[in-house]
Symmetry: C2
Amino acid sequence: MTINRSPSLTEQVKAHIKERIVGGEFTEGRIPSETVLASALGVSRTTVRDALSRLENEGAVVRRQGAGTFVNESILQIRSRLEAIWSYEDVLQAHGYTPAVRVLAVEEEAAAEWLAADLFLTAGEPIVVIEKLFLEDRRPVVLTYNRISAGIVPGPVGETDAATPIYEYLEAAGGRHLSYYLSEIVPVVLQDDLAAKLDVVEGTPAISFREVGFDDDNRPLVQATSYFRDDLLRFRLMRRKDGS
Amino acid sequence: MTINRSPSLTEQVKAHIKERIVGGEFTEGRIPSETVLASALGVSRTTVRDALSRLENEGAVVRRQGAGTFVNESILQIRSRLEAIWSYEDVLQAHGYTPAVRVLAVEEEAAAEWLAADLFLTAGEPIVVIEKLFLEDRRPVVLTYNRISAGIVPGPVGETDAATPIYEYLEAAGGRHLSYYLSEIVPVVLQDDLAAKLDVVEGTPAISFREVGFDDDNRPLVQATSYFRDDLLRFRLMRRKDGS
DNA sequence: CAGTGGTCTAGACCACTTT
DNA sequence: AAGTGGTCTAGACCACTGA
């Protein structure tokens, strides 16, 4: 491991430790002490602590005062961690599928009441709706509707634009950085249209996300509604006592 | 604000800032700079940074290099943040309900195959199942099944034991500290028994959690399955780019 | 009691945003 | 150019765990 700046030392140390973790180097789950790591890597203990804190936040390790720092085996298995999902293609890939995207529709509409409220617009303003289907090989897994104010992406939205992940597109076309989603988890029963598009029998229960994506300044950028095939993709989550 | 140890300085600084946030003191959303806070509170900048980091992890504030630290208004509204939920009574209270718990059953059973796998037992070992219903005034909102190895709580489980939050009970009766849950989010359609207990018409879609609670040593303590009335309690979540 | 992580300080420099 | 958060150091002491 060669140490230089950018990415930061802390980030490099974090990556280094993570590598050793996934490499299975710490067989009993115990990670070397902070002092040992610091002197081995030639950095201060503070830097090592910073790196370990970030790994702890991700759930990769657990620290116990007086005892040591340990690998969190159970969390490493999870491939679809709800908090960490940003690209459905990545998620499908992590599940061993060969993902594909199909753009079903790109339409301009007038913002409905509820949508206007979500996006801080006034009802009737023009918005763009992108309807996409994510597939593993041939079977549909996720159906998404992204709704963006036409003011954010002035040009017409092409098919290839629509096919790129929404946060990339917002960055490229709108120059806006998608920072976080506020998501609502809603149970639904798939009927008619939705059942047909996801290729399931009518009446199949499914999870639906209704979420709003914000930029760094807490301004809403996009409203998204998604539907998932529970038999092909099931979400997991770590809930910790501290609430992080 | 008087500063003394225990809780730690950092924790006190964090609490202090949080108070001022919820008190609406930072009207434009801007929090004083780290240097200003440090000298005003008579602590080092490191301590202030530590406190702010924790607030950032909770989603309460956002930091932007070169610009400042800002209150995250949107997250403060959320009353049922999925990651932070540990007691359904607290959640119901936060929604303005008057919560109540009703213990429907406490039974001893032999562990089924799937449960044994979840709890690292062998099939057939004795387990205790606690069935509880959480109500707001008179309407049922949450139905939970907690399954614990009988070896963890050797004594018989009384009605009042069962009524206490599961993590408190495990602490008191079993001397085990519940550290985190690994949860699976499953869509279901409420039928028969479940529909009756939650007082909804058959065929109502609902969210269900299937989760396993672990202690600090990554040992499974309890398996829980829960069902929610979507019309009375809907879960929300912040999904950030970094993945924490 | 030795070793671990937790807290805290004071100070330096850097990267970035804003004016 | 001034001010902000981001990184990093070296060192001290404390709280806790485990042998």
